[in-house]
C-alpha cells in the first residue's frame, strides 16, 4: 500500500513537470472567468463593473437559431476608445465565450460563430477607456448546441 502511494506520488510529480511549460503559456488565459458557470461571477472575475447600457453597441444575430451549435454573431462598437469586447451567453454551461482586445489600428468590430445551449441573451460588454458598456440580444434556440 505504501509502495503504491509512493509510485503515485512519483507519477504525479513527473506529470506536473511535463505539464509545466504548457501551463506557463496557458497562464495568459483567464481560466477562472472562462470556467465559471455564473455570468455575474465571470464579469466580476474579468474586472467588469458598473456597465452602462448603450445603443452604441450593435449586435447582429438571428432572432431564432435553428441549431445552437453555430450561431453567427456580428458585433460593432461605435464607442470612442473601445479597447476590448467581451461576449457572454447567460444560459450556457460556461457563460464567457470570448474576450477580444483591439489595438488602435483595429476597428472595434468582429464577426464570429458561437455555441448556444438554449434560448438566451447574448450579452456584449465593451471596455472603452476605464468605463464598461453593455448591450444584450435575445436569441431563441430551437436545437441545443452544446454537448
Amino acid at each position: 500500500m505504501q509502495r503504491r502511494n509512493f509510485l503515485k506520488l512519483i507519477l504525479g510529480a513527473t506529470t506536473a513537470l511535463l505539464l509545466e511549460p504548457l501551463n506557463a503559456l496557458a497562464a495568459l488565459w483567464s481560466k477562472p472567468a472562462f470556467e465559471t458557470t455564473k455570468i455575474k461571477e465571470a464579469t466580476k472575475l474579468l474586472g467588469i463593473h458598473d456597465e452602462i447600457s448603450s445603443t452604441d453597441i450593435q449586435i447582429i444575430a438571428p432572432d431564432r437559431a435553428e441549431n445552437g451549435a453555430v450561431v453567427q454573431v456580428e458585433i460593432k462598437s461605435n464607442l470612442a476608445n473601445t479597447d476590448a469586447i467581451y461576449i457572454l451567453v447567460e444560459k450556457n454551461p460556461t457563460p464567457l465565450i470570448a474576450h477580444f482586445e483591439f489595438s488602435v489600428d483595429t476597428e472595434p468590430s468582429l464577426v464570429t460563430r458561437i455555441k448556444m445551449a438554449e434560448t438566451s441573451d447574448i450579452k456584449v460588454v465593451v471596455k472603452a477607456g476605464a468605463q464598461f458598456f453593455t448591450r444584450s440580444k435575445n436569441v431563441i434556440v430551437l436545437e441545443n448546441g452544446c454537448g
Partner: protein, 105 residues
C-alpha cells in the same frame, strides 16, 4: 500547417477586412462519444493577429466558440501587400500560424 487555416485579407473602402476560418474541433469536454466516454476538452484558447509584425488583435476564447472557428476583423491604415498573420494556441499546446498579403478587391 496551411491546411489548418484559411485566410483572406482584402482592402475595401479604406479598411482591410480579414476573414479567418480555422480547422479545430472545439470540444467542450462535456460531450460523450458513442461508447459513453467523455471526449476530453480540446479548444483554441488564444488567438493573436499581427499586421507587418505588430499586434493588432488579441483574443481569448472559451469552449463556446463554434467548431471550426470563424472570425472577421477589420484593420485601419493597412495597404495592399501588407502582411497579416494569425496564430492560435489551444489547451493541449497545439498551435498554427498563417500569413497572408493584403489584396485589392
Amino acid at each position: 500547417m496551411s491546411d489548418n487555416m484559411k485566410m483572406r485579407a482584402q482592402l475595401k473602402g479604406g479598411l482591410v477586412e480579414v476573414k479567418v476560418l480555422m480547422s479545430h474541433p472545439m470540444e467542450t469536454g462535456r460531450k460523450k462519444d458513442d461508447f459513453g466516454q467523455l471526449i476530453p476538452a480540446h479548444f483554441v484558447q488564444l488567438v493573436t493577429a499581427t499586421l507587418n509584425g505588430k499586434t493588432v488583435l488579441e483574443a481569448q476564447w472559451g469552449t463556446g466558440i463554434a467548431k471550426n472557428p470563424y472570425l472577421t476583423f477589420r484593420l485601419k491604415g493597412a495597404k495592399v501587400g501588407d502582411i497579416v498573420s494569425v496564430t492560435w494556441l489551444d489547451n493541449v499546446g497545439e498551435t498554427a500560424t498563417q500569413d497572408i498579403a493584403v489584396t485589392a478587391v
